[in-house]
Symmetry: C2
Subunit: 350 residues, 2 copies
């Protein structure tokens, strides 16, 4: 068999029929009772009893969503899973299965795909999801990963984007902007490396930022935390494009307005430091940076006591009547219209 | 709004936030009661009551799986759906939902994607499936389509690849080899066109072959037909890679051998004529051509009277003890080992 080493190079064409799939999926055990049949038939078979099924899908394209100059393939595999699971958690569900399809050009040796799958496997273990299928094909250029995630939730637990009411509190998990600043660090180091390949960058100060960019964690913990706190959000979404874009989604889907308070937006100290270094406004970064994979949700005012002291959660605003519009209340107490940034018309999930 | 014409060219970047998705998905209505929430949230929500869920996924890559020189985008969209639904039917299930992800380079105008989606929409209407989500992103090169199909079946109806027993009859729907010969016709015409762009090919004689290649139909009708006939297959698979490869799958997954009779393989007269014209062996084409999207299954000997006269079904062999091996019995009554052809290690679904 092939040596488990990045120094070895096995050409993709050297593997026989189904050899590649067998090699890549050999460590993917079935863990869940809801998985009746995983890889190896025309379709996977699942049994969710009386639960509702959640399905979401994302494409990651080399040169568009990731740059292999600074993205380890293992991290890429991990992140590709996170991006999808995050959408399941944003429905207040439990992620259960994924399918993984990859299109890859001949420039990638088998060992590179093994690294990618190692990241997928790690993510599936930590997040307790089964890999139940996929498709592996050649591409004329680069690497593309298409993952579909399935999840489940009791009908009464599912949270849509559409249930926010005026006076509901707007809440976000974790902190924002770090993934975007991590990307800025990595892009800067790539530019430095191009000029001087012998430079030895000291990135210790940026560990958190880089980790948030390369190896984000989906907030699997938030749905059970909310359950434990006896809070059911009235609406929820995950933050992939940036806070402002996602807040606007909740408002438009729910038919409400919002007052978002600049001074309440949770920022890690390293984000603030990096923003100063790069001379960018940290609020802008949090609003428009994206890729945080935190959960943004609304809860009834009554639930305020249940969440106010929770270290994972920040109350950042409140919903209003739709007619009042969507606004950011700045630190200087100025009310400015919230606009969607950080989006790209050609990278939209539906 | 944009004119519904292939002559108009709207650059992908001209559409605003979510404009492209809105445009492409505006005609996709929800038809099924199992679809609780389709496009428009973090994940789609389905409710299948007590049914088991089937999930399958396929990637189609420009330059690998299709050539836009002779593949109309509308047909491509239709075929991309068929390829996936076929896998659901091969589990003896009912296809219910699909997600559609596309990666596309800037060389495609919006109108091209509208054509693609028109084919997807047509397929979803005819086959009664809901499009419940997807992802649209830019690619650095070409067009890639990733579709995931969901289906459902009662637990007792699901048919795996693994249940064939010695003496079971091997049955195939429809006829074989036409899609492959259609591809040969199209490739020939493309070559002719390169030499003489003014040539006006007369393809009337090849209509069936070309249609089987460009616009295949998945065998949605077979699971209900079998139900009506009170036949439950012991194993089943769809023919995407070629008959021999799929027969071998059934044998290996079921732990049996097979005797496949050359003279029983169903061939359309136009396939036989095209094979003569191209000077290729029609049996080889049926065994190795692929893309037929017919269903191959095994049934107990007892069910012979129920299926023998059915015009949709051909009995092409019988299963044996594994130790007897996998053989083709030729017209000359010679027994030759069945080998898998038509596969490509880099295009395997798992």
């Amino acid at each position: 068999m092939i040596e488990d080493s990045l120094n070895s190079r096995t050409n993709l064409s050297e593997l026989g029929e189904f050899g590649l799939i067998d090699l890549l999926t050999k460590n993917l055990d079935i863990k869940l009772s809801s998985t009746v049949k995983g890889i190896g038939d025309d379709a996977a078979v699942m049994d969710f009893q009386d639960k509702q099924i959640l399905v979401t899908t994302d494409l990651l394209v080399e040169g568009v969503h990731f740059d292999l100059a600074y993205t380890p393939l293992k991290h890429l595999g991990y992140k590709a899973v996170m991006v999808n699971l995050s959408d399941v958690y944003a429905m207040n569900g439990v992620a259960t299965q994924i399918t993984v399809s990859i299109a890859v050009s001949n420039r990638f040796p088998v060992e590179a795909l093994e690294e990618l799958y190692a990241g997928i496997e790690t993510a599936s273990k930590i997040y307790n999801v089964d890999v139940v299928g996929g498709d592996t094909t050649s591409s004329t250029k680069g690497l593309l990963i298409s993952i579909t995630a399935l999840g489940m939730a009791s009908k009464e637990d599912v949270v849509y984007r559409s249930g926010a009411k005026p006076n509901d509190l707007l809440v976000v998990s974790g902190d924002l902007g770090a993934a975007y600043m991590g990307l800025q660090i990595l892009e800067r180091e790539k530019a430095v490396f191009k000029v001087n390949p012998n430079s030895q960058p000291d990135l210790d100060a940026y560990t958190y930022l880089i980790e948030r960019q390369l190896k984000p964690e989906a907030r699997k913990d938030i749905p059970p935390l909310l359950k434990k706190l006896e809070v059911k959000p009235t609406s929820m979404i995950d933050i992939s494009d940036g806070l402002s874009s996602e807040v606007i989604h909740l408002c438009k889907n729910s038919g409400v307005g919002v007052n978002l308070y600049e001074d309440k937006i949770p920022l890690d100290p390293t984000v603030i430091a990096a923003c100063e270094e790069f001379e960018v406004d940290s609020t802008t970064i949090a609003l428009s940076g994206g890729e945080d994979y935190e959960l943004l949700f609304t809860v009834s005012q009554e639930d305020f006591p249940k969440i106010k002291a929770n270290p994972h959660l920040s109350i950042i605003g409140h919903m209003t009547e739709a007619g009042e519009g969507m606004h950011l209340i700045t630190r200087g107490n100025t009310k400015i219209p919230l606009i969607a940034k950080g989006w790209n018309a050609m990278d939209k999930e539906n």
